[in-house]
Symmetry: C2
Subunit: 158 residues, 2 copies
DNA sequence: TCTTGCTACGATATATCGTAACGACTATGC
DNA sequence: GCATAGTCGTTACGATATATCGTAGCAAGA
């Protein structure tokens, strides 16, 4: 259910695999995976933490790919709209998706100590939010579920 | 489990009752329920929707209670820290608590049409977030659970 | 009385996050 | 080719949030 970002793993594969998968999906769906969009995805994939739009923009600027906020926000909008990245509301920041396979309803675990973020999956229509909504006659269109705390590594005594 | 904000109710009682309850709790706990803090709570209670800090600040300014951002943010920090109000991450905005009774883990239902927000309750250690966290060995300190969609009134055909 | 510590308040300045609007370029389908 | 959708680059601005410094009031204790 969760991926392994809190544990050791082949991180280069995260990046190359992620980019290749998205490239393929875009080709299948007739989406334009432009240079800027690809670069933003790479930037997001380069860390298992959420990055602010301006932090991303700084890197784009260094790469000569655009230096004004709308450049970053447009690429992020594309990526989030198509499920290749997610916005972390709690942090006003973005992270690459780690469950590209299917339409999904992510749950995020945010470590306040090392800043790493893990994406887990589960159906929001079940569970507490769904129950609360049903009781109130509320139709859910989007659910934000983000937990903040300590990851296994950071909660261990030093 | 949910309160009645999506339905008709005696709204004056929401305000006066809310202020009185918080006043009592502050007295019990030795907290200073100052004029600005009380006014901000009243402002939040005056609507069942989330309000931005600057919207609140505009009202404070009109009341002669302070006109600079920190005035509003400090009052909001007090109210949220002690559980008298909550921050809605999805909206970068704040709402009065409607479950003052006990320590709690709120779930919010946000109507994108009429902007009303309802606070429901449930234990985050159970359910999907808790399950995901347990599986990852993650220690939850705070959980954000916000659903966006349509309330009963707004989802009915016109 | 004087000092100390604490909490709250006021004000300035700045950091951070996000979008509206416009004109130019480019990919794609006809 | 040509029309049109989509994309890009830039300017300007709006919205949200915090850092920092200084002050006022109050209570405890020397």
């Amino acid at each position: 259910m969760t991926d392994q970002a809190f544990e050791a793993h082949d991180h280069d594969a995260c990046i190359s695999g992620g980019v290749a998968s998205v490239e393929q999906i875009c080709a299948d769906r007739g989406l334009q995976f432009t240079r800027t969009r690809q670069r933003v995805l790479e930037i997001l994939l380069s860390e298992h933490k959420a990055m602010g739009a301006y932090e991303i923009l700084d890197i784009l600027r260094a790469d000569g790919l655009g230096s004004q906020p709308p450049v970053a926000y447009r690429a992020l909008e594309f990526l989030t709209k198509h499920g290749f990245a997610h916005r972390i509301e709690r942090l006003n920041a973005f992270i690459a998706c780690s469950h590209l396979e299917d339409p999904h309803a992510p749950v995020f675990l945010i470590c306040r100590s090392c800043d790493r973020v893990v994406e887990a999956e589960s159906d929001p229509s079940k569970g507490e939010i769904g129950r609360a909504a049903k009781q109130a006659g509320f139709v859910i269109e989007r659910a934000v579920r983000e937990a903040e705390g300590l990851c296994p590594g950071c909660s261990k005594p030093a």
